[in-house]
Structure formats: C-alpha cells, structure tokens
Symmetry: D3
Subunit: 331 residues, 6 copies
Amino acid sequence: MAQKVITLGEVLMRLTVPNYKRLFQTVNFDVTFGGSEANVGVSLAHFGLKNIHITALPTNDLGERVARFLKLNGVSGRGLVRKEGRLGIYFLESGAMQRPSRIVYDRFDTTFAHLDEEEVDWDRVFKDGDWFHYSGISPAISQKAADLTLRALKEAKKRNMTTSGDINYRRNLWQYGKQPQDIMPGLVELTDVVVGGRVDLENCLGIQDDDWQRNCEKVKEKYPHIRAFAKTIRNAMSASRNELTAVLLKDGQYYESQTYEMKNIVDRIGGGDAFMAGLIYGMLHLEPQESIEFAVAASVLKHSTIGDVNLSSKEEVEALVNGNNVGRLLR
Amino acid sequence: MAQKVITLGEVLMRLTVPNYKRLFQTVNFDVTFGGSEANVGVSLAHFGLKNIHITALPTNDLGERVARFLKLNGVSGRGLVRKEGRLGIYFLESGAMQRPSRIVYDRFDTTFAHLDEEEVDWDRVFKDGDWFHYSGISPAISQKAADLTLRALKEAKKRNMTTSGDINYRRNLWQYGKQPQDIMPGLVELTDVVVGGRVDLENCLGIQDDDWQRNCEKVKEKYPHIRAFAKTIRNAMSASRNELTAVLLKDGQYYESQTYEMKNIVDRIGGGDAFMAGLIYGMLHLEPQESIEFAVAASVLKHSTIGDVNLSSKEEVEALVNGNNVGRLLR
Amino acid sequence: MAQKVITLGEVLMRLTVPNYKRLFQTVNFDVTFGGSEANVGVSLAHFGLKNIHITALPTNDLGERVARFLKLNGVSGRGLVRKEGRLGIYFLESGAMQRPSRIVYDRFDTTFAHLDEEEVDWDRVFKDGDWFHYSGISPAISQKAADLTLRALKEAKKRNMTTSGDINYRRNLWQYGKQPQDIMPGLVELTDVVVGGRVDLENCLGIQDDDWQRNCEKVKEKYPHIRAFAKTIRNAMSASRNELTAVLLKDGQYYESQTYEMKNIVDRIGGGDAFMAGLIYGMLHLEPQESIEFAVAASVLKHSTIGDVNLSSKEEVEALVNGNNVGRLLR
Amino acid sequence: MAQKVITLGEVLMRLTVPNYKRLFQTVNFDVTFGGSEANVGVSLAHFGLKNIHITALPTNDLGERVARFLKLNGVSGRGLVRKEGRLGIYFLESGAMQRPSRIVYDRFDTTFAHLDEEEVDWDRVFKDGDWFHYSGISPAISQKAADLTLRALKEAKKRNMTTSGDINYRRNLWQYGKQPQDIMPGLVELTDVVVGGRVDLENCLGIQDDDWQRNCEKVKEKYPHIRAFAKTIRNAMSASRNELTAVLLKDGQYYESQTYEMKNIVDRIGGGDAFMAGLIYGMLHLEPQESIEFAVAASVLKHSTIGDVNLSSKEEVEALVNGNNVGRLLR
Amino acid sequence: MAQKVITLGEVLMRLTVPNYKRLFQTVNFDVTFGGSEANVGVSLAHFGLKNIHITALPTNDLGERVARFLKLNGVSGRGLVRKEGRLGIYFLESGAMQRPSRIVYDRFDTTFAHLDEEEVDWDRVFKDGDWFHYSGISPAISQKAADLTLRALKEAKKRNMTTSGDINYRRNLWQYGKQPQDIMPGLVELTDVVVGGRVDLENCLGIQDDDWQRNCEKVKEKYPHIRAFAKTIRNAMSASRNELTAVLLKDGQYYESQTYEMKNIVDRIGGGDAFMAGLIYGMLHLEPQESIEFAVAASVLKHSTIGDVNLSSKEEVEALVNGNNVGRLLR
Amino acid sequence: MAQKVITLGEVLMRLTVPNYKRLFQTVNFDVTFGGSEANVGVSLAHFGLKNIHITALPTNDLGERVARFLKLNGVSGRGLVRKEGRLGIYFLESGAMQRPSRIVYDRFDTTFAHLDEEEVDWDRVFKDGDWFHYSGISPAISQKAADLTLRALKEAKKRNMTTSGDINYRRNLWQYGKQPQDIMPGLVELTDVVVGGRVDLENCLGIQDDDWQRNCEKVKEKYPHIRAFAKTIRNAMSASRNELTAVLLKDGQYYESQTYEMKNIVDRIGGGDAFMAGLIYGMLHLEPQESIEFAVAASVLKHSTIGDVNLSSKEEVEALVNGNNVGRLLR
C-alpha cells in the first residue's frame, strides 16, 4: 500500500519567456505551474506515493487550469479549496551562460493568502496520512497562511504523522507585518525533518554558526525532537552549469552524497523541491545514505526537464543513483 | 502640423489562448497589450497624429514591456509614470462559431489604480494639446483613478481642448464604493463628445429612453454643452460573423454609416476603441458623414488583425471607405 | 448525486497536420486523442456526470499519455486495462473550403483489439452504473472486441441499466471475418436507445426503408424493446460550412431540433459523439424535445474547438439552446 | 506515357507573415516558394505529367533550397542553371476580411534576370516535349529574360510543341527600358493558347474592346494561329471570400464553367497558375467544356492550401468537378 | 562519374517530442524519417554519390511522405516498392544531461516486413552498382526481410560489387522465430566490410573475445574473405556530452582516428549510420587512415543537426578532418 | 545628462534558420535586425546613453519594420533617411558543436549603398554629440557609403567629438572598385580609437607586425593622434564553446581583461559590437582597466541572448564584471 503524504502551499502560474528572449521583449509565454510544496507532492506522486495537496484556487478558469495540472500529475483533488480571488503568477526569464535567470513575482493578495483554516476539511484530508510537508514560503505570505500551516502541523502531529519543513527564507515575502522569527520557531517545534542552509536557520530561528553541521546541532539543542537536517550544496558556475551535492544529518551521523556535475541545464527551478521529495521518499523507504543519494539524483533529473516539477519515476532516479543508463539511448 | 491627442487610462497585458483552445487546457499564451483609451491613442498615432498617453506602469520588466509596446506604436513616453506595483492582466479565450469569447480579468489593485494625480506632470503632458479622451473604465477602477480622470478633464478644459468620453459601463468594475452616477455626471459636464449606447447613458447618467436618439436628446437637455453623441451598432450572429454600423448625432443632425458585414472575424477586441479613434480623427479633419464612415471603417479593419489596437493607416481606412482594394491583392 | 455512465471502446492517438498543410508535406503533428465512445464519456464528464471508460492501453509511455488524457478530462481510470501491444493511431489532414478532410488510419492489431473480456473487472466497473454506451466500431475491430461489447451489454442489463448504441457502420473495418449482420443484431437486442441513419440500420440489421422514421419503426417491430431512435442530419456545403439538425423518435413521437448554420468550422471530428453525449445527458435529465435540442447544441459547440472531444460544460450548452451569449464577449 | 510540359520563369522565395500580423511588426516568416510558371509546372507534376522548369538559381544555399523545393514537387532538375547572383524574394502580408493582402517585392537584379540563353541546354530540356508554357512576367524582368522567352518559344515551335502564354501584365515590372508592346507581340506570334483578360490584351498587344470575347476575336484576326483564349473571372467580396468562374474561347465556341463560391479562403496566391495548369491538363486530355471545368476546380482547390502551388492530384480535381467529396470526411 | 551505392532496409517515421518534454505529456511531435540503411544512403547522396534505396512503403499519404523525404535527400526512387500496409513509427523522447533519451517503437507488421523479394526489380536497381550495404536490423524483422537481404547480397556479389554490413544486434527485434546465428552467418559470408563491436560479433556470429581486434581476427579466420572490420567507440558521459573515436582493421593493419569531444550534442540518433556512410565513402576514395578520419568526422557532424540523417557535404566533413572552420563564423 | 553617441552604418534584416536546421531545408525564419554600427548604438542606448544612428531605409514596410526595431531599442529616428530601394538581408544558419555557423549575404545594391551624404541633415544629427563611431564595413559597400563615412568623421571632428572605428576587414565586400588601403587611411586619420586585430591593421592600413601591440605602435607612429587601440581575442573551440579576452593599448599602457569561458553559447553574432559599445561606454565613464573589463563582460552577455544586439543594462554588465549574480536565480 502506497504511503500518503500531505503537502500544503500556494500554486502559482509560471509564465516563461521562450527561446532565451528577455522578458521586456517577449511576444509569448509558455505556461506551467509550480509552488514549492506542490512540486514536492507532484514528485512524490510520480514516485508512486499518494499525495493530497492543500491549497486554494480561484473559481475561474485559471483555477480550473491549476486543478487540471495537479490532477494530471497524480495529486488528489481533496485538498483543493475553490474560492473567489486571484491566482498568483510568476514570470521567468531563463538565463544562459553568465546571464542569470530572473523572476518577476505577481503573487500578492491571492486566493491562497486568504485561505482560512476553517475552509479545509482537515479530517478528510489527513485521514490515513503518513507524512506532512510544508515550506517557509507559506508562513511568509499572510497571517492566514501562517495560521493554516501551524494548524496543519498540529493536525499531523495529532495523528502521529512525520512532518518536514523546507524552511527556505525568502526576503521579498514577509510583508504582512510579521518577521520569520515570530512564526517559524512555532512551526519548527512541530517539525521532524528540517531542510535548510545556514542562512535559513539563522533567519528563521535566530541560531547561527559558520559551519552548517554545528549550526544544525545548535538548533537541535533547542529543538531536540528534530530527527534530521538536510540541504543541498549548489556550486553554480553559470546559468547552464552547476555542481550539486546533498548532505543529511541524522541521529548524529553526517551523510554526504556524491557530487553531480550538471552541464547544459534545461531548467533549475524546482531543483530543491525535487530534492525534498526524494528525501521524503528516501526516509520512508531507504537507509540514510541511500536516501540522500536518491534525493540528490532526483534533483539532478529535475534539471533536465522544463517546468517546476520533477517528472521522473522512482525507477529513473534509482537508475541514476546506480549510474545506469546515463548517456545511453534507451530503446 | 499633426494634431495632438492626450489619452488617459490603464494598459493591461493580454494573454491570449492560441489555436481555439480553452483557457483551462492551454500550455502557452500569446502576449499583447491593450486598454480602451491607449487603444485609441495607438490608433491615432497610426493615423499620423501625436498621442501622449497618461498611465502608470510598474517599475519591473513588465512595466518596461508595456512602455516598449507603446513606444513602438508611436505613443509618446511623456505620460508614463513608473512606480512600484503590479500590472493588470486579462486572459482571453477566443470564441469561434456559436461559442463566445471569454475574458478572465486579473486587474485589481494595479499600479494604475494607485496613480495619484500629483504624480503626473500635467503641464508637460497637456502642452499644445488639441483633444483629450477618456473612458468610463478609469473612474470605475478606484477613487484615485476617478480623481485623475476629473483632473485631466479640467486640465483639458483649462486649455480649451476638445474632450471626448467613451462612457462604457462595466458592471464588474465599480467595486471601490462609488456608483457610476456618483462620478460620471461630473465628468460628462466637461465632455464635448459622448460615445455610448442606451445602457451606458442610463447607468452612467440615470437618463433613459427606449430610443437612443431621444435618449441623447434628453441628455443634451441636461448637458447642453455636449456637441455630439455617437455609438456603434453591432449585430453579432456568431463569434466569427458580425454586422457593424455606426451612428452620430451632431448639431441635431443624425448621421448613419453604411453597414459592414464582417465574416471570418480575426479579433474583435478593441473594435470600439478603433471606432473611437476614427471618430476623433474624423471630427478633427472631416465632415460629419465622412467622420462616421471613417470611424466605422477603422473599426472594421481592426477586426482583421490580432491584438487590441488598430494598426491601420489613415490611407487604409480611406481606401475601405471608398470601397477600394477590398478583396484585392496589393502588389 | 451525479449519474454514472459506462462507456467502452478504443482510444486512438490523433496526429493532425497543422496549418492546412497536406499530410504528404508535413513536418510536425499536433497530438490529441479520441475514440467514438470515449468522446461520449469525456463529454459527459464535462457535463458533470461520472464516467468510467473501458479500454485497453499499451504498457508504454503512449499508453500512459492516453491515461493522462482521460484522467485530465474527468474519466475514471477504473476501466483502463494496461497490457503489451500497440496504440491505434489516426492521421488527420484538415480540409478547408471545397477540399475535404482526410483520415489515414493505422489501427489494426492494437492492444484494444486483443482485450479479453476476462481482463475487465466487471463488478468494480459497473457498480452503481446508470447507463452503458457502445458504438458499432468496437464489434467491427475484432472478435474479442465484439465479445467484449456483448459482455458489457449483458453486464449492464443484469444491473437494469439503460443502454445505448451508436450503430455507425464503418466499411473499412470488419476485416476479421464477420459481417455486421452476424454481430449487430445480438447487440441491438440489448440496446434501449439506438442512434443511426438509414445506411447504418440497413447494414447492421438488414432492415431498410427509404424513410428514416419508417425504417426505425420497422426495426422496432423486430426489436420492440427499443425505447428511442435518434440521429443527426448534416448538410455539408464545404469543409468549413455545414448545417446541423437532429431528430429523435421516442414512444411513437417524432422530435426535431432547430437547425444550426455552422460557418467557420474549427474541427468537425467527434461532432456525432458530442451529440450522443448530449442525448444521453438529455434522456437522463430532460424532456424529449429539450433532449434533442441539448444534444444538437452540444454537437454544434464541439465544432468550435480542436480535438475529438467536446469540452463544453452543461451551462454552455444550455446557453446555446436558449440563444444566450452567441456572438457576445463574456467578461 | 505521361505528357511532358516545359515551363520557364523565375522562382522567388516567399516570406509570409504568419497569424494575420502586419509586415511591419513581424518576428518570423514562413518560407515557401513560387513563381507563376513554376507554379504551373509543379501543379502539372502533381497531376502526373512530366515537367521541366527552366530557371536560374544562385549557387548558394538559397539556390539549393529552391532546387530541393522543385525536386520535392516532381519538377525535373534538368532546366535548372546554377550561377552567381541573388534569389528574388517577395514578402506577403496576408489579408483578412476587408483588409487586402499586400506584397512587397525584392526581385530586381536576380540570377534569373541575368540568365543568358546560351546557358540553357535547349536540346536536352526540350527533347520529347509536348507543351511549352511561359507568362508575361519573364519578358518584363530584363532584356535577357525576354530573349530567353522568345528563344524558348522558337525551340518549342521547332519541335511542333503546343505553346501557351499567360500574358498577365504587371505594371511594376518592365523597368529595363522596353514596353510590353515592344516584346509581347513577338511572343504571341508563337503562342497557341493565350490566357489573359482585357487589360492584359490591351496592354500587351494594344488591341482593346469592352467585351472580352470580342477583344479575343480582334486579337485572333491579327494572330490567326491562336487556338484558344481563356481567363478566370474573380469576384472578390473580401480577402476571405471570392467567387470564381472561368471561360474558354476555342474554335469560335465560348465555354463557361460553373461558378464556385469560395468562403474562408486559405491562400489565394497562385490561383491563376493553378487554373493555367488545369487548362493545360485539360487541353491535353479533355474536351473543351471539361477542360474549363477542370481548370477552375483546380484553381478553387489551390485556395484551400497555403503556398503558391497547387498540391491537388488529378483525382482530387475531378472529384470536385463531379461534386463528390465536398464537405465529406474521407476515411 | 559518381559511384553508385545500393542500400536496403526499413524507413520509419520518427515522431520526436519537442522542447525536452516527456513523451507522456507531449501535445505535439516533430516529424522526421530514418532507418539505419537509408540514413547511410542519404548521407552518401549528400557526399555526391548515387544512392538507390530498396524498401517498401505503404500506398497511403504516409508512404508518399517518406518517398518525398528520400527524393528530397537525393535518393533515387527506383528501389521503392509501394504496397498496402502500415508504416513503421518510432517515438523519441530526447534526453538531456543525466536523463537518457528513450525510444518507443511501433514497428511490427509493417509494409517492409512483408516485402517479398519478387517485388523488387533487381536488375534495374543493381545495374552499374558499385557497393551494396545492409544492416543487422532487416534480417531481425521478418523471414521475408531476412530473405530479401540475402537475395540482395547475392545480387551484389553476382555483379562483383563490394558489400558491407553493419551487423548491429537489436535484442528487441528477432521475434519471428529465428535467432541471429540462424541468419547472420549466411549474410556475413557474402560481406566484405563488417562493422560491429564485440557484442555484435558474439551475438550474430557466436565468435567472441575480450579484445575487439582479436575478436575480428577470429571472425576473419572463419570468414577469410572479409576485407575490413570497423566500429566506433562512444564514451557517453551524459545525453549531452560524448566522446567519439573510430577504429578500422584492414589487411591486418589497425587504424585509429582522433578522438572528438562532443559537447552540447543536438541529436545523436543516426551517428553510427553517418559513420558507416563516411566509411563507405572513404573506402571508395581514400586511404585507410583517411577513411577512418573521414568516417568519424562525418559522425561528429551528424550529432550537430536534428534528424536521423547526416546532411553534411563531403567538403564540410573534410574541413572538420583538417580542423578548419571549427568554431568559425563562415560568411 | 546622458552622453550622446552618433553611429553610422547599414542595418540588415537577419533571417535565422531555427532549431539547428540547415538553410537548405528550412520552412521558416526568425526575424531580427542588425548591423555592426547600429548594434553598437542599440547597446549604448540600453546602457542609458543617447544614440542617433545614421542609415537609409526603404520606403516600404520592411523599412518601417527596421525603423520600429531601432525605435524600440532606444535609437533616435533623426538619423534615418527613407528612400526608394531595397533592404539588405542576411541569412544565418546557426552552428552547433563542431559545425560552424554560416551566413549567406544578400546585401548588394541596397538603399544604404545609395545614401548620398547630402541626404543627411548633419547639423541636426550631430548637434551636442560626444562621440562618433563607424566601422570598416560601410566604406567597403560603395563609394557613396565611403564618402558618407568620411563626411561623418569630418562633421565629428569639426565639433571636437571623439571618434572610434572598428576597422574590421571583410573580404567579400570591397566590390565597387576600391581597395581598403585606398580608403581606410583617410578615415583613420580622423579616428581617435581604433579597434582591430593584426589582419585588419594590415589589410586596411598596410602596416604589419607579428605582434599586435607592436603593430599598433607602428600604426601610431604614422597616425600619432590615435589615443587607443583595442581588440578582443576569441579562442573558439566549437560553435558552442569559446573563450574571450580583450585588450586595450592606451597611452602606451597595455591592459588585459580577465578571460571568460563561454559554454553553451546562444548566439555569437554581434559579440564584437557589444564589446565596442562597452569600450565606448567605458572610455566615457571609466578608467582604462575598468573599461576593458566592462567591454569584455558586455560582449560575454551578448552571447547569451538571440539577436545581433546586446540587450543588457549597464547594471547587468557591472554585475558580471564584479562576479555577482552569475549562476544565481534573481528573484
């Protein structure tokens, strides 16, 4: 029986400028969808797990478009709340070589920002759940979204589910009056697996150290329930060429994945979410070292397709972990 | 020396679903731009007149994209105010046959809605102006936009310019607490040329009659300064086939254009604005009957190209009025 | 509670030559999917009913592609059997003006043709079903597909479901050794609603008459259990312009719909299936005259979008029946 | 054994603005090729005849591109002379509705204009030829092209071939110092079948009459060897809608084809050349009335595909003449 | 006088998913054509040699499409047999980075598989032939295709032509009851130049060795008439980055080409066939070391264009061999 | 107040074959525009400087298209002369890997080649100018263009403006009877900043040396007024991978930039012009070492977008110089 993971977060429409054009000159957009937590959910669904994603969508055709996107990618519709409002959008200008990619957000005052915790049917959504995942983006959007995240964590803990948080810090958000440290510590208290780098740990929890591992250990002193810390290490030589490694700190043990050289990157958006999904998959099914290898390989494969979500199957990720098929022509 | 027309209003990004697909299934969008009053300005620029368009644009690359669009189409950049905020967007699903076209708006809380009248350099913009044009859309957006429109009319009148208003009534707007009749009468008091049908006159001014001509006469009783009324009559058999006629009431005389049968319509958005621009051009250069013929022909040509704006030259409109070139292959 | 309709039949990949090119010169294809009975199911799902479609799909990525198409369009995956084999394909060269559209089939020896009745979980699929629909195409494909259709009818009748058959006669099929009259009479004996023209009735049942209504009556003499006959009447002036009327014979009463003039047809494939879905919807919810009006309007709307399936909602069809919205711009 | 037709004339690259955009705003072009006489040759090849087309092509990749286009469409490469120089180009802005299509030519000083009659291997090209065709365009391009045309006519007559000339008058050409009446009479003296309207006859031969039939008769008085005159009558209501009829005057008999209503025209360029090819085919294989019906039907089908050349087979044209298949879906 | 090479084998339609999308999500396909032996023939035609390719094509428009493809690329139509049946298809999902390319075949029961040796006009095709080439794919398809290949080899040997075989072993084929070692030895007995790696030699001939050169020598002991062995060595770091070297064993001498680093690979399909064509060209015109350099350079250039066939001219390959032009901008 | 730079030269339409296809097989073109000196002007406009570009454009829609391109990119229209004639065109086949890019020119006898110096309003154009730039291309086109360049230099010197010349030598031009050394020395006498490599210096000025720096010094002996020499050093490993360094010789000092490794090059056309613009910007605002760093970084960024012109802002170039943002995702 497939494990069931619940995710929560906003889904945005992504409008990408095609053919390496600049945003200020474009005459068309490619349409995809993404959002950090939904990306995790979609990826898990492609690995064969069950996913219910909690979000709010407008009652217009754009909301319908997103609902179809999620459904198509294996996400259950049970967590979708339809209500009046607008869909968040982001515009992507894809970089190349030494020219960085650029994002313009248009995501304020969206349907998700107004989603009230009472609008979610918590029992129906969390029934038989195994894992709950959130990110640091939702609590940065609005007080309601922060409340919603906290509520979801409580619902998960009430049911003895494992919880994970990708506590990524986004400076441009957090405009509704609260600061990360007003909110994030309360969430981390209910979080079993924390993903984030030193900057994230410092901004969200106010705990810092020059070394990530020691930083995590300091966090664990304060939040001893945390079972694992993880992050990816990206060495970006250009928009087209990166190196990627991942690390996991679990039960006092430090695990480091092999390093992948990524050349000719097709699309790096969602690389972290693909890692997150790989990690959840790994922690549900694999040993620690295998988990971190699975997670980083999932992230690498994400970079080879267009769109925010990882479309790789579990078997494809495993093949990469084992070094099979790379550079082959599969007939 | 070319006449100079000043226009004021919001410019939206239009995202069109290509190839007769439904919005809820699209994987890409064509990008164009439009806004009722800017459409008028662009069209006048293509006729060879000078146009300054007053609007607010975000300081991001989307704002830059709009600025380039306007510049490319001959609109002066002097009326453009750049400020923090978001760009209004509308999504268009193109109809065909008996299936109607559908628009989804995402235009609340935009940069334009927050444009303060003090941010416009009125003297620089209105210097040497001949005509000012607005529509009923701006005052429906926000109190600031309503104030801005009134201020612009006063600036125009201060300089003895002719003024026109396309007082189209949009039910879905007017959400900031005011009703049309709170605002529109004050604007019409400063308007020389009023374009609108019976529904518009009734909703905006509270003056009604079963017959448009009599309705206009009643309006003129209350607003005796109005020099002319006009409107188009569209008989829409399907999304692809319409008939179009235009009428003008000026100095007690009633002028009616020939009726155009429009088959195989390419894009009807902006048809009314193309008419408006044709009417302004006509009233600046032609006799009344010629004016209304020029205006309706301009509108017909608009229907033959994609996008909100009419790209036809004065000569092309004249050729259609004279029945030249239709169906020919111009080598 | 939504009614539940079960459909059965092959789903083909449709490869369409874009831009009015000829098939022998094309450099790309647009990809959609369709099959007479699945088109009916998808349309019903868009009307808000439940649909389970029984078919076989290859275990490769093409099969996955079809499964995603069905899922996206609201079809339950319970009736999908995955097995080794190939997916049927058809190539479409779209006509224009006096040039007819042309189809090249590549649909022999497909996974569906080999679907064994034992591979379907009949109880799971037919549980709580209200209506079962098939067409004359399945029994023409292979002995197994004919057996499968008969079995499905028996399963439906066992559960007191209503059954319908679009007994369209396709001369190019029927290559496995049987003739229509070897098979179709056995199916019609279990069919409540028969859709077909005179040619179909004659070829499938061997009963003929110069007049369709009389022809139906003769059929009813032999198959007195039939509750209704229906068909569409298409008057095709060109690939781009048709007229469409539909008729229904029920309880001895003859109902005829209004006639729609269809100009600028976007895509006529699946027009009959959209009618069939409209008829099923109508017979489940409406009076006879309303049913036939709903059905023909559904078919008309199908002609306005690309692809085999009708994407219109129930509300959109109703609006057309009532003459609302046609030629309007819905904001 | 297939008949062999030799044609002579320039082939241009056609760059078409897609999607009803204006030329002054385009960001891409569709590429096709055409030239009045080559269009005739290609069409004849699609009817199953042999065609050798005489022209000059640049020695660069553009010349290679044209050579491939001709080869692909069944034209023999024996008449192609490769030499230094440039390829003629024309830009097409496709009209719609009341907006006419527009062509911008860039065809001066091309390789063809410099083609010397000594560069053609006349014996190899004309061996076993049955028919030679030219148009009034070649003699209008340059003195060399005029000489070439005359030489070809002499070569044809030397071999007792039938000759035809589409003596269309193009005002924008004829810039090398000669006038039509300096050249065309010499060509018509060697021409058996003359295609042209009154304007053409008057401009090329200086013989005029208000009535085309009488005009032809006057021409025949002066050029009694002419065996037949023909032309199409196009009634163009808009860029999208035309009516087409064709007439033939042969042995004192006047033949008129049925009139085709052409709605939703896809591309009218080359419609006259498709007619010409149909006429040549007809005069080689059919009776006069059949010929003119075949020719006009060929022209109608040309309007349904994109590009200058008619891609219809003989069977497709015959089906239209017989009223078969129109509006059908050929499976 | 150009040398004449005869090739024999199936030609498939290749449907490629564009833009790095996955096959299971695609909405369109790019269309090209290829088949191992036809790829060799087309490449040789681009080098200036004559090629006749023997294959069977369906009598529908898809067959016509392939015939046009071959003609366009310089292949003579004399070897094309048109008959009822279906065209083989393969679907390509292009890999990127660490994600491998994947092919889904739909090539069973095709027209080629049913091509009877009596349907080929052997005398007409082989007249004046210099070289005959086949691959290990044809004999793996069906008994008829195996017979056809053997017959062709006999016809070639009867005329003292040189013969080559690319004895690539495809595990997924060979489903008609025979094993490679039932068929291939009989073919190799008539083959002068054998291309294949150790796996191929072992599977096809049952002769193995850990070292390719020794393996070839063992084969030569049994088949002493073989004049040369060759293969490419591909080191594939990712879908986008490979290294390529080629080796030739001739008259007891071992020749090795320079190694090319291929980054940013555009399309690797057909790389082996481009090598094969280069080798045939080389053995007809060059010394052994030059041959293997020419062959590997041809293969490298193939990787830089989309499609199965190498479109490079002889001059372009030579320039690469000589290190000219690489990285230059040729004006 | 922004500095004002005047540039002079031809602007060509560039028609690019998309998707790595070969020119001889293309079915469409992407349209952009460029010309060495206009590329410099556009780039400077994007840096925030004022640019007036002197050129001649045809009076047709193609000329209008170019005018719109320049206007859109910030170039003043004051230097544009509209006159009868043709627009120069170049066709680009984009290389990949070891396959070089290829250009086919169609640029003879253009409107620019016939631009008479009397047609330019020199006073209006040069008023308040700070810098004038030309290249070695204009004097190679026609005597008139050479005269025009000389006249512009004199106008610049008359106003004490700084002058720069990119004296690139193009062998395929210079077909009007003059040789570079007939013309270029006269231009260099009025040039303050000379950009060119050894080949250019030798061909244009007849002064040579094996070492570029010594070569420049020899030139300076003869032309002591020259203030600076510069060039880029491109090491091209393949069409997709280059290394780029730039050097500057000023006041006897030699400055060398860092070397950029450019992988995954998107489009290298105009790389030299982007450098030139960066150098002009640098010499107007920065110290020598900063200048050459700014210039080479500008050139690198040009390689990351499609089209001849650099669309980067000053801030983007500075970020690259400082090593900021490379490989980041800018939100």
